[in-house]
């Protein structure tokens, strides 16, 4: 009997040990929710009590979240709302969001990319903005000013879950960059077409035989963007959005959707790249080059022309000038590629993301108020510039940011232009902090923009075709494009390759792009 008692006690101790952990963590979670709900109820009782809104955002390593960020104080000062930020450092942010949504204990706002928001939204996790917009005068004013503001974010059944934050997309501009100092020292001209580029690369290779003068990171994912100057369609969306937006494009002349990697212009580009590859003008590991290696070669004077985000100009120029004062990476306008090409390129200046309100938001009214404020002119001004005397001073009628070397520092110190802290945004604040070369690039790049035609969002059934046929086509294209460039497959087999792509169900894919585009056209 004694033994039995001992046994039971032992079992209980083990169980208590386990449950002990569980209750502890549960208590913690409960505390914060209790606190927020308590605050929320206070708000309704006494308007002057502090209002809160909780927000879940991704947090980058170069600007880790700080409790005392200026932007949080400023938002509180202007709106009376205290933002409780849950900054997720995990790179798999969307997985964290999935888990949070499934747990039921959700924040009021989440900063999400549009495809994810549309997916969660259609499952009922997020608020359809059309249902709440009547309480948002500033938002309505902005929305009615231009239909294109919200079009890319509409779902297949005409709902809207993201508060568009497109303006900050200027930071995503991509283009050709070249080493101006090296060009000047060797009296080389900036190329305007592929022939000239080839000659310049030849000369560079002659002067610096150990280098690969034209090299970019990102492998095959960067090629559609280059192809847009080769008459292979305006398809660079894929460069920006990754696998969710493969290089399908709308051809206005034939009013149809096409797949860029089987176009003649694309073939011309691949033939050209293959020539450069054979003559060692682009790096032999161009397909597998990672960011780190690319950076090392850029700073080690082994690459003279590259294709990347234009904000990378300052990323290289500022630190490298400490070692090599003449180091100048500068903007190179797109060149006309082949017979079919033009000196234009895909406009990558978009940011397909924004804040969303969760369906179970505890502080719904506060969240709506905050988002509406962000769409006001005052909101835009505040989240972009801060305030005079605090973040900037007026010098000769122009604004000058105080104590700020670059945009990274702006983000790090103040939280301005970090994820979720903006919707409308004045990109002027970034340009203000750019070096003269980068500021010039930011002003020049838009001149070469091709007009983008955005397909609509797919229905669940269409999404399934994307997951099977679309994924198979994408994989085959990636593999074959890589092989054409490095010469493992001869370009004389091009027609066969086109047939292979078509055999995987390309017509079905083009069909759903057309269908989704039609739906979008019908939106009033």
């Amino acid at each position: 009997m004694k033994k039995l008692v001992a046994l039971i006690l032992a079992v209980m101790m083990v169980l208590v040990l386990f449950s002990g952990c569980a209750t502890k963590s549960a208590d913690k979670g409960g505390e914060s929710t209790a606190a927020t709900t308590a605050k929320a109820t206070e708000t309704t009782a006494a308007p002057e009590a502090p209002k809160t809104v909780s927000i879940m955002v991704g947090s980058g390593p170069s600007w880790p979240f700080q409790e005392d960020w200026y932007i949080l104080k400023k938002i509180k000062e202007k709106t009376g709302i205290t933002l409780n930020v849950n900054a997720v450092t995990d790179p798999n942010f969307n997985d964290k969001v999935s888990i949070t949504l499934a747990s039921g204990d959700v924040p009021d706002l989440i900063y999400l990319d549009a495809p994810t928001a549309q997916k969660f939204g259609q499952q009922g996790a997020l608020v359809n903005i059309f249902d709440i917009e009547k309480d948002m005068p500033n938002y309505l004013k902005w929305k009615n000013a231009d239909k294109n503001n919200i079009l890319p974010f509409l779902t297949s059944d005409g709902k809207l879950y993201n508060f568009s934050a497109n303006e900050i997309g200027e930071t995503n501009r991509m283009g050709w960059l070249y080493r101006k100092d090296v060009f000047d020292a060797n009296k080389l001209q900036v190329p305007t077409n592929d022939e000239e580029l080839y000659n310049v690369l030849k000369q560079l290779k002659q002067i610096y035989p150990d280098t690969y003068p034209l090299t970019f990171r990102g492998g095959v994912s960067r090629i559609p963007l280059i192809a847009s100057s080769w008459g292979a369609g305006n398809n660079g969306l894929s460069a920006l959005y990754g696998p969710t937006k493969p290089p399908y494009f709308y051809d206005a002349s034939s009013d149809s959707w096409k797949y860029s990697p089987i176009e003649q212009g694309y073939k011309n580009l691949l033939t050209y790249l293959n020539k450069l590859y054979k003559e060692k003008l682009i790096a032999p590991d161009i397909i597998s080059l990672d960011t780190k290696t690319w950076q090392d070669r850029m700073s080690g004077n082994q690459i003279f022309i590259t294709m990347d985000y234009i904000v990378r100009i300052d990323y290289f120029n500022v630190p490298l000038r400490k070692i090599n004062p003449v180091f100048t990476l500068a903007y190179m306008p797109p060149f006309k590629g082949g017979e079919l090409g033009s000196a234009k390129k895909t406009n990558t200046a978009s940011n397909y993301a924004g804040n969303t309100i969760t369906a179970k938001a505890k502080n719904m009214q506060n969240a709506i108020q905050l988002m509406d404020w962000m769409f006001s002119d005052e909101g835009k001004e505040t989240v972009s510039w801060g305030a005079e005397g605090e973040t900037y001073t007026m010098v000769d009628g122009k604004r000058k940011m105080t104590d700020m070397a670059d945009v990274t520092e702006l983000r790090k110190k103040t939280g301005i232009s970090t994820l979720g802290m903006y919707t409308r945004f004045d990109f002027g604040v970034h340009i203000n902090l750019f070096s003269p070369e980068l500021a010039a690039a930011a002003n020049e790049d838009p001149k070469y923009d091709q007009e983008a035609v955005i397909p609509g969002v797919f229905t669940a059934a269409e999404q399934e075709i994307v997951a099977t046929k679309g994924a198979a086509i994408q994989k085959l294209t990636d593999e074959m494009v890589a092989k054409f460039v490095v010469g493992q497959r001869n370009l004389s087999e091009w027609d066969k390759y086109v047939q292979e792509v078509k055999a995987l169900g390309l017509d079905d894919m083009l069909g759903i792009y057309k269908a989704s585009h039609e739906r979008l056209k019908n939106v009033k």
Binding site: L7, A10, V11, V14, F18, N92, N94, D95, S98, L101, A102, P115, T116, K119, F120, Q123, G124, A125, Y212, G219, V220, G242, P243, T244, A283, P284, D285, I287, S288, D290, K292, T293, R297, A460, Q463, E464, V466, A467, T468, A471, A472, K475, D478, E479, V481, A482, K483, V486, Q488, L504
Partner: protein, 324 residues
């Protein structure tokens, strides 16, 4: 040895005759020791296992996996109809097979060789150095591999050039991928995998060696007749565990696996490098098709389970050693 075995069997028979209650009473403290493990297994292994049900459902994250509608075998059919299925299965199997074929015996040979080293200091040093790569993060090790093999300034190509050869663009040629994977895997797991064999070898009775010397055995004969038979049960047990992971694509001694492939591959070598796990990764995490990727993964695990069970049966029949 045989006598011991027979005794053991006798013991088991004796216990078997007892009722459940007696057995329970006799083993209650052992069971108590096991209890935390059981709780762990239930909460962290068996309960999450219900998650595989989403492979038969049209999973909607917000509704949860209980409320999502059933779709039967739809996603399995989708996978087998996709043109990639056969290539993926072939790649996964071959990568796993080669890793097992070359990666599994390597630590055994290494442990046997190390066992013959008499100088304790050298032995310790060699063991430490060979174990180190296992503790370096996969991302870093694969970065090193890519650097070593780089056609621009990689050390291996420099060596080839120095010896008068042509630069080889290793990561762009699909024929190289499996070799690179297996060799780097052996390098990573050699020391770690050998630990258990070294431990088993240190338990061998010294008298056996003395007797063998008197009988006139040389070193190789000692290894063949004493060392290998005494670690055979360990080898078989580990072999069975690793056969159960054969179809995950290159995963022995707890190393390797899909992160490695993901870090190494690029589109040029999809032909050999794309395995089921990387496909699941692209479908599940990049494209968000949770149900579909779960179905593909479930198929993979079923194959692994079948492999494990059948090899375990074979082993029980022919070698007396089995996992259960």
């Amino acid at each position: 040895m045989n006598i011991a075995l027979r005794n053991k069997k006798k013991c088991m028979l004796v216990i078997d005759r007892n009722s459940f209650g007696t057995k329970f009473r006799k083993g209650k403290f052992l069971l108590l020791l096991f209890l935390p493990c059981l709780i762990y297994l239930i909460f962290f292994v068996y309960v999450p296992m219900w998650g595989v049900s989403i492979s038969f459902k049209d999973y909607k994250i917000y509704e949860g996996f209980l409320a999502s509608p059933w779709v039967g075998f739809k996603y399995f059919i989708m996978f087998f109809q996709s043109p990639d299925a056969l290539i993926l299965i072939r790649n996964t199997f071959l990568l796993g097979f080669y890793t097992l074929l070359f990666g599994f015996p390597a630590p055994i040979i290494f442990a046997l060789a190390l066992n013959e080293v008499r100088n304790r200091k050298i032995k310790g040093l060699v063991q430490n150095v060979s174990t180190l790569p296992y503790f370096i993060s996969q991302v870093v090790v694969m970065g090193m591999v890519l650097n070593f093999l780089s056609p621009v300034d990689g050390i291996i190509n420099r060596l080839i050039n120095f010896l008068g050869g042509e630069t080889v663009n290793f990561m762009m040629i699909s024929g190289w991928f499996r070799s690179i994977y297996v060799i780097s895997d052996i390098w990573q797991n050699l020391g770690w995998g050998a630990i258990i064999y070294i431990a088993a070898l240190s338990n061998v009775d010294v008298q056996l060696y003395d007797a063998a010397v008197i009988d006139g055995c040389n070193k190789m004969q000692k290894i063949w007749h004493i060392d290998i038979p005494s670690i055979t049960p360990t080898i078989i047990t580990l072999l069975l565990i690793n056969v159960g992971k054969l179809f995950t694509g290159g995963n022995v001694y707890g190393g390797g696996g899909f992160e490695k492939v993901l870090l190494l591959y690029n589109p040029t070598i999809y032909e050999t490098a794309d395995i089921i796990y990387t496909y699941v990764y692209r479908q599940g995490l990049s494209l968000g098709n949770y149900s579909y990727s779960t179905a593909v993964n479930l198929f993979q695990n079923v194959v692994n389970l079948v492999l494990l069970v059948s090899f375990n049966k074979l082993s029980r029949r022919y070698s007396e050693t089995s996992l259960y």
